[in-house]
Amino acid sequence: MTARSRYRVLALLGLLAGAAAAAEAQDTTRGVRLGLQYRPGIQPGVVVLPVGGPEGDSIRAIISRDLENGDRLRVIALDDSPGARTGVPNYALFARLGAAGLVQATRTASGIHVALHDVAAGRVVEVEDFPLRAAGLSRDWRWGVHGVSDAIEQWITGTPGIAQTRIAFVRGASLFVVDSDGAGEVSIPTVAAPLSPAWNPAGSLLAYNTYGVDSRVVVHDLASGRSRAVSSTRGGVNQTPVFAPDGRTLVYAHACEDCDGSDLYSVGIDGQSQARRLTVGRGSINVSPTYRPDGRRLAFTSSRAGSPQVYIMDADGTNPELLTTFVFGEASYQSNPDWSPDGRLVAYQSQIAGRFQIKTINLGDRTSRQWTSDGANEDPSWAPNGRHLVFTSTRTGTRQLWILDTETGRSRQLTRTAGARLPAWSRRQLAGR
């Protein structure tokens, strides 16, 4: 056991003790719980104290918004800080404001020093130094601050946040990547108009497909900027790539020039190997695959029984079965599955009254749940925490990306420029920190 993890255990014990002490004085009717014990469905109040030094205001704003976006903490906004930036805070005052925790960040020569205070216990429970070497306010710099937010969320809730993640999407004929808070949007050069981006597990590669003439699946290396075609099937349509959890192969859909259907194929990402067919669609359309996190099963859209539905099968193409339920003879259209990172749920889109809505289906008892009803909502993609979903919505009149928290039902708008669609949420560990 390292010194660092020993410290964490001690801090955790202190945290639990503080929570137990605070639990007795809780007033649940106001929705405010004191103590730093995190329980799902309860949002402890947190104050992010003003940060001095260069870019201090930006650091405070980014961390506050990240914690708010995580939907597990309630950030208490203060116009004027009732406590010093350094030294011992006035715990009693923060307790009266409903704060269970205080985040105290200070600039250092190499980055940020962060201390987390347990208000109920009246003491510091975590400290850490985070390097922040990139130029102030740059994309890489913001990336570093998102990492600080995720560490703070882990201290308080036991699970890291999702601030330091990115979402790839298509707008017009271009591919974009945006930070989880909607900032830092950059366009990624593509060989032709792209569709259906997908991340590799390490976050270092983006796969997408081109369409029309010479449709192919392309893998783009974010660090080097190089790209290569990996689909070995020629002609027709090659689309909807998805990386296997081991990151070495990907599965995509190919509709050959003269055939009726579209089948799923597996191919190595080196661009040298020959694709292997997985589905036997017999003229039906099979597209939009997604892996179970263990890599042993795939969910996908298929028209094999008439209207498009979501099916699951073993990763080698055997044992296909219908996942979404539908009534034979009724117009029903369910597609675009995305398997949750914890493996329990599959998110998909279901046509209701002529418009797509986001649904999830529980793989345990096969019960489904509808999450949206306003506008048309499509293309769901899970956050790495298996709790948030990013999707396309027309609820404001233009097509934008939105993020839904499946615990609270809360949603927030991610993009502000019209036409965004086909989002793909990265996993947590990204290259190029």
Binding site: A193, L195, S196, Y211, G212, V213, S215, G235, G236, V237, Q239, T240, A253, A255, E257, D258, C259, D260, G261, S262, I285, N286, V287, S288, T301, S303, S307, P308, Y333, S335, N336, Q349, G354, F356, E378, R421, L422
Partner: protein
């Protein structure tokens, strides 16, 4: 049994027999008279479908005859227009409708008389449905149109197919008016389009 309903069925059957006689002599339907409204509706639908199928068949024969008689296009430009005429599809379907088969039948003699003509068929869909599924559906529509022509003698290598799915609509907006125009296969001449020869009878 309801006397009135039975009368209605018999009356309808008579109407359909008369209507069919109007264009072509056929044996009268031999099904027993149905007894409920659903059956009446079904009979009515069947009658309309039969008439429509007959009308389409005759129209196709006419267009083939016209094409063979050389009574149609007079210059290259008209021939090109016929080649490039899009064909349309039903929702989430790649089967060729009567009007689509007719449009393809008009292209057929031109393709057969101009063996240097190389075309590309691009399949498109309306905006409904998943855009990923639609890319595959567009391919299926293009393949469906190609198969029709190849099965009637056009060399396979003279026709390539691609799909744009729902990415390139010709009509914008919601509603069947726009959607029906977007569910199409488009025809593009890749080579051999200059100095087209008029099909001979």
């Amino acid at each position: 049994m309801n006397r009135l309903a039975r009368f209605a069925v018999v009356a309808l059957s008579l109407v359909s027999v008369v209507a069919l006689d109007g264009c072509r002599r056929r044996p009268a339907p031999t099904t027993a008279p149905p007894v409920n409204q659903d059956s009446i509706d079904a009979a009515d639908r069947a009658r309309r479908d039969a008439l429509e199928a007959e009308r389409l068949r005759m129209a196709r024969e006419d267009s083939i005859r016209r094409a063979n008689e050389g009574a149609g296009p007079v210059d290259s430009r008209d021939l090109m227009g016929i080649i490039m005429e899009p064909v349309y599809f039903d929702y989430d379907d790649s089967a060729l409708r009567g009007d689509a088969a007719r449009a393809l039948d008009e292209k057929l003699p031109i393709l057969l008389s101009n063996t240097g003509l190389v075309i590309r068929i691009a399949g498109h869909t309306d905006e409904r449905g998943s855009s990923e599924y639609n890319l595959a559906l567009g391919q299926r529509r293009a393949a469906s149109a190609k198969r029709y022509l190849v099965e009637r003698g056009v060399a396979d290598r003279r026709i390539t197919t691609i799909s744009y799915g729902e990415e390139r609509p010709v009509a914008l907006g919601e509603g069947e008016m726009a959607w029906s125009q977007n569910r199409r296969a488009e025809f593009e001449v890749l080579s051999g389009g200059g100095n087209l020869v008029r099909p001979r009878p």
